[in-house]
C-alpha cells in the first residue's frame, strides 16, 4: 500500500466506499479510492500523490502474485510437516532396540574385573 499515501491532514477523513466508512488512515483498499479519484478531483486531494492507473493495475497484479506465492509457501510447509510425521515413528523403534544390547555388554565387563 506504499504507493497510496494519504495526506496527514486527511487521515481522519471519511469517504464512504467499498462497504466501509473507516477513516482513510485505516483503510486497506486505497487502490479502489485512487481509481475513483481519476474521475473525481475531490477525491484526488486526499492523496499526497495520486498514482497513475497503470501503477494501480501493477499494484493489484503484484497483490495477486503475492497471494499466489503465499498460498504456495503454505502448501510446501504443510507437505513438509506431513513428511515429518510419517518418519518420526521409525526413529522411536530404533532407540528401544539399542538399549538391551548395551546393558548386556556392560555386565560382561564387570565379571572379568
Amino acid at each position: 500500500m506504499k504507493i497510496f499515501k494519504i495526506k496527514e491532514e486527511h487521515k481522519s477523513a471519511i469517504v464512504g466506499f467499498n462497504g466501509s466508512g473507516l477513516p482513510l488512515g485505516k483503510r486497506n483498499d486505497l487502490d479502489v479510492l485512487a481509481e475513483m479519484a481519476h474521475h473525481n478531483k475531490n477525491l484526488a486531494k486526499y492523496f499526497e500523490e495520486l498514482p497513475t492507473m497503470e501503477a494501480i493495475k501493477a499494484y493489484r497484479a503484484g497483490e495477486i502474485v503475492e497471494a499466489i506465492e503465499a498460498t504456495g509457501a503454505e502448501e510446501r510447509v504443510q507437505e513438509a510437516e506431513e513428511a515429518t510425521e510419517v518418519s518420526a515413528p521409525d526413529q522411536v523403534t530404533e532407540t528401544v532396540e539399542e538399549t538391551p544390547t548395551e546393558s548386556k555388554r556392560g555386565k560382561k565387563g564387570n565379571n572379568r574385573a
Binding site: 467499498n18 462497504g19 474521475h39
Partner: protein, 192 residues
C-alpha cells in the same frame, strides 16, 4: 439497425423484498457522489470541503414505522421527447408534538431555500439516492426534492398512528441512481 433503441433487462436474482429499511435526509450541497463503473450507480460519497460532521453536516436518519415507508417514481415522456420522473417518498413517523413540529419547520426551510436530498436503503439491500447535487465534483442540473403533502394527525383509536406521514416530492429527468458503496458507508457519515 440505425440506432441503439433498446437493451435487455435481466437483473441478477436476489431476495427482492419490497419496502424501505432505512431513510436519511441530507443537504445536497454537503455531499459529493462519485459515479461507479456501472451505469446509474454511485460508488463513493464524501463530504465537501468545509462540510463536517461536527459542523452539523451529515446524513440525518429518519426513524419511521416499520414497513411504513415507500418510494415511487412515475415516468412521463412528453411529445417533445423529454422525460419526467415524479419522485415521491412517504415515511410514517410517530408522536405528534414539539419535536415533529420543529422537524417540519427545519425541513420546510431546507426544502424551500436549499437542496434536500434523500438516501433510502431498500429492504432488498439496495440503496438509492434522490436530490443529489454534486457528482464527480461537478454541480449537476438541479434535482429538487421538496417536503410537500405531509399529513399530520392524532388518529382516532388507540391503535391508530399518532404522528405524521411525511411526504417528499421532486421532478427530474431520470430515475434514482443506486449507491453501491454499502450502507456502512452511509452510516459512517451520519450526522452527530
Amino acid at each position: 439497425m440505425l440506432t441503439q433503441v433498446t437493451a435487455k433487462y435481466n437483473p441478477t436474482c436476489i431476495n427482492n423484498a419490497g419496502g424501505i429499511s432505512r431513510a436519511w435526509l441530507f443537504d445536497a450541497g454537503d455531499f459529493d457522489f462519485t459515479t461507479g463503473g456501472t451505469a446509474a450507480t454511485y460508488s463513493a460519497v464524501a463530504l465537501m470541503a468545509g462540510a463536517t460532521i461536527l459542523g452539523g453536516s451529515g446524513f440525518f436518519p429518519i426513524k419511521f414505522n416499520h414497513l411504513e415507508g415507500e418510494y415511487k417514481a412515475t415516468h412521463t415522456q412528453n411529445t417533445n421527447g423529454s422525460n419526467e420522473y415524479a419522485h415521491t417518498v412517504s415515511l410514517q413517523v410517530q408522536i405528534l408534538g414539539a419535536e415533529l413540529t420543529n422537524f417540519m419547520e427545519l425541513n420546510q426551510k431546507a426544502s424551500a431555500c436549499g437542496l434536500l436530498g434523500i438516501v433510502l436503503e431498500l429492504n432488498n439491500g439496495k440503496i438509492i439516492v434522490i436530490g443529489e447535487s454534486i457528482v464527480n465534483a461537478v454541480v449537476i442540473p438541479t434535482f429538487r426534492i421538496r417536503l410537500d403533502g405531509s399529513e399530520l394527525g392524532s388518529g382516532k383509536a388507540w391503535g391508530d398512528n399518532n404522528g405524521a406521514t411525511l411526504s417528499f416530492k421532486g421532478m427530474y429527468n431520470r430515475g434514482a441512481y443506486e449507491f453501491t458503496g454499502g450502507v456502512s458507508a452511509i452510516i459512517a457519515l451520519e450526522a452527530s
